[in-house]
Symmetry: C2
Subunit: 242 residues, 2 copies
Amino acid sequence: MKYSSSKENYVKAIFHLQETHGLVTTNALANELQTRPASVTDMLKKLKTQKLLIYEKYKGFKLNQEGRKIALQIVRKHRLWEFFLVEKLGFGWDEVHDIAEELEHISSVALVDRLDRFLDYPKTDPHGDPIPDSQGKIITKVQVDLLQLPLKKTAKVSSIGDQSPEMLELLTHKNIALGTKLEIQKKFLFDNSLEVKVESFTRENRTPEQASNKQSKKQVAVKTVVTISEHVAKNVYVTYEE
Amino acid sequence: MKYSSSKENYVKAIFHLQETHGLVTTNALANELQTRPASVTDMLKKLKTQKLLIYEKYKGFKLNQEGRKIALQIVRKHRLWEFFLVEKLGFGWDEVHDIAEELEHISSVALVDRLDRFLDYPKTDPHGDPIPDSQGKIITKVQVDLLQLPLKKTAKVSSIGDQSPEMLELLTHKNIALGTKLEIQKKFLFDNSLEVKVESFTRENRTPEQASNKQSKKQVAVKTVVTISEHVAKNVYVTYEE
DNA sequence: CAAATTATTTAGATTTGTCTAAATTAAATT
DNA sequence: AATTTAATTTAGACAAATCTAAATAATTTG
């Protein structure tokens, strides 16, 4: 079945909210979509009629199996197009969201699958988020603190427990921020300290003139190895695949 | 300014009709868009209000300067996407129209221009139709008979004057058909006969499995040189650029 | 040229998605 | 527990794009 762009946007937004929080509320969704609660209620009724939603008046709501399937296809399209825009057309990763918002509503399934192959089946989009496969399977990310991160698993900093200025100063100095990719090289059993490879990026603004057709990475990756104490490790949360 | 997909479709259809015929009529447009004359009239009023159209009630209509500009941008997007779908994603040229109908409404100008560069500024789409440049300039095709075709100008057979079986047999034997690309190598003043280089193609259907990511041409080009008499040349019409 | 036919427009309705303002339900607070 | 506050839904309206049926204008034809 085909759904309007507007419906697809609702489905995608509900999906996003129910993944992060649990049940979704009318206000939260109105805020997410920059619209009015009354409009949300109107659309919820339609989505319920179309059996994409589990919804009881005044009680919150979430997508059912079918709704989730549709949401995952939209997410798949969005992220594949973002990958295309960055890797093939040379856009910066911070310029592609709005364009992908439009492209994700193109309906052809053959198009998505061929695009996927053309891009050589990328696993993550330019922001590091996982791309669902054609079956809607998506690598789910596990969140743990650094102490529990397996050796040699690439992970991404997702949140910081202790946000004191002292902690932030330390992290800044070691080039660790939200979104930073890192990997544990070695664990020392003596004091539970860790040797961590950190990948930081110098943000570079690309002008249309600079960017070329080739899959050029304009972000310069800087890799450093730092040592992290058990105390710090406990307060750095990361996500990794599987 | 941004226009709805529906408005863009009207503008494109009007453009198409006014290029082939002159003034456009309500019924012709309704037929082109597979809609009702009353709906056409409704939209015409809106397009007139937005100053894209020259329109007097009951008298026919056509795009003005601004409307034509918009139409050309849509045509540009449509044809660039078709080129992309065939050359990069490996679709057959007969499968891409409907997908391009959707893609042509994606609004980002930066996207179109980068796509154009990524594709290395193609001049024609997979059906041989010219692609307008970013300024809206489009190579207009001139139709003449073969006698008037300038030397060394690549042209495409567009129609045949004398369609007798004898003529068709001759053309078939020389590998000339509608759509055939050819070029005059030499003109003999003695009898106005021509030496013509003919490029014929073996059409090959690509299945999704066969097609690769590379820009592989699946059509095998066969080039031959043939001699054409004045009598035949007068009855073969071709189009060429400029 | 008047009548018949065809083309076009108008009038009024429908669908989708949105809105404001009012009413209702749920949650929080005293 | 009663009241206040916040969240949610309903009622009614609107814009865009479409439609059917009826009215009007233009064209064709006898």
